[in-house]
Symmetry: C2
Subunit: 242 residues, 2 copies
Amino acid sequence: MSKKPSLYTSLSPALLHLYDISNSVVVVIDILRATSTITTALYNGAKEVIPVDSVSRCIEIGKHVSGITAGERDGKIAEGLSYGNSPFEYPEEFIKGKTLVLTTTNGTKLLHMALDKGAKEIIIGAFTNLSSVCNHLLEMKKDVMLACAAWKDRVNLEDTLFAGAVVSKVKEHFDINCDSSHMAESLYNVGKSDLYEFLKSNDASHYHRLTGFGLEKDIRYCLTEDVADILPVYIDGKLIIE
Amino acid sequence: MSKKPSLYTSLSPALLHLYDISNSVVVVIDILRATSTITTALYNGAKEVIPVDSVSRCIEIGKHVSGITAGERDGKIAEGLSYGNSPFEYPEEFIKGKTLVLTTTNGTKLLHMALDKGAKEIIIGAFTNLSSVCNHLLEMKKDVMLACAAWKDRVNLEDTLFAGAVVSKVKEHFDINCDSSHMAESLYNVGKSDLYEFLKSNDASHYHRLTGFGLEKDIRYCLTEDVADILPVYIDGKLIIE
């Protein structure tokens, strides 16, 4: 019997250095809202999404590629950018064929860390494309790192829940010697019947922050499975559907 | 109404730097088995426990204080030391009145980090002294950091479960804006009816490692609430009952 590939979960970018990911498919997870919005934009026909780590770089690249610049700081569109972080800002009639240059702090930082550590492949995961992520991992049969973007390196509930959702769907096919993965799955099993209610009842910090900005609708969407079920892959600085 | 003190959980020493603990009571948590053994030795009458981070230092200090040297590497008593990490090695008839010099890697490292970061007070927490820890935190009315020792910085299930046990018992009296704390409590609520079975069914890495060494009895003991219900406090390099 051949050995199963391994699966690990890193609950924060500050823990990623503990793992050798040079032979791994890394799933970048930033549920509220970067990876949910990226999958949605691509699902709705965006040509590509370019993730960048600062507003100034977003403006610069936006000009260079004639793209749509997007990003928020403290719940408002950042000065100099045109759009925000909500998946609802990117319907097909608006985004189709366009390049979205998106600045996100936690997710982009994590993606670059994974690149620096020589990840075999980097893909984007969210509840919105859960099935595509799981199917890809099962097809690849390679080691997997579920990498949560967290919030300023602090572990968060929604990214952990998504890691747990993936674990629950693919675990038979992987060797999982990783408490974080088992914890994530256990939490997902508790919360899966109503993830929104689970975030709320656990007083999740992002739930608080975003509802403070009136974004309940965004949260509900970002917790909905397979509503934008495509697979974004990071290739040469861009996220595209492979 | 006066503001409640804050409570945070750091799931790994690699996350502790994210928090300001200069006004906090830090609870050092290393369930399998350092903090369980420390509470047990003190409960059984040890004069003090000196935690050290290396075998050589353990030998050196052991000579200096005429203490009992203890510590394991890979499940065996480390060369040059006299005893191991099991709480069952320290019954009253053996340990009463003596100084135990204990080398633990994860727990001692964490304790020194907390010291370096200027923690207000450092105490030792385990299921074996859960009530004493909770009562102390409720009496102090200060900010709290539940600091998990983890395993080589990787998050582990048993330390997280203990953090969750504390959260579940004190949460009404603290302001908890920390997803790790809520996650820990949620996991504890799932597992609390049979923590041993929960570790086993979640394939916890430490459960695996220790049962491989024939230590099921140790694990069961380390998951038993209040069997050594005293409060070890770190003062001037030593853990004592205050």
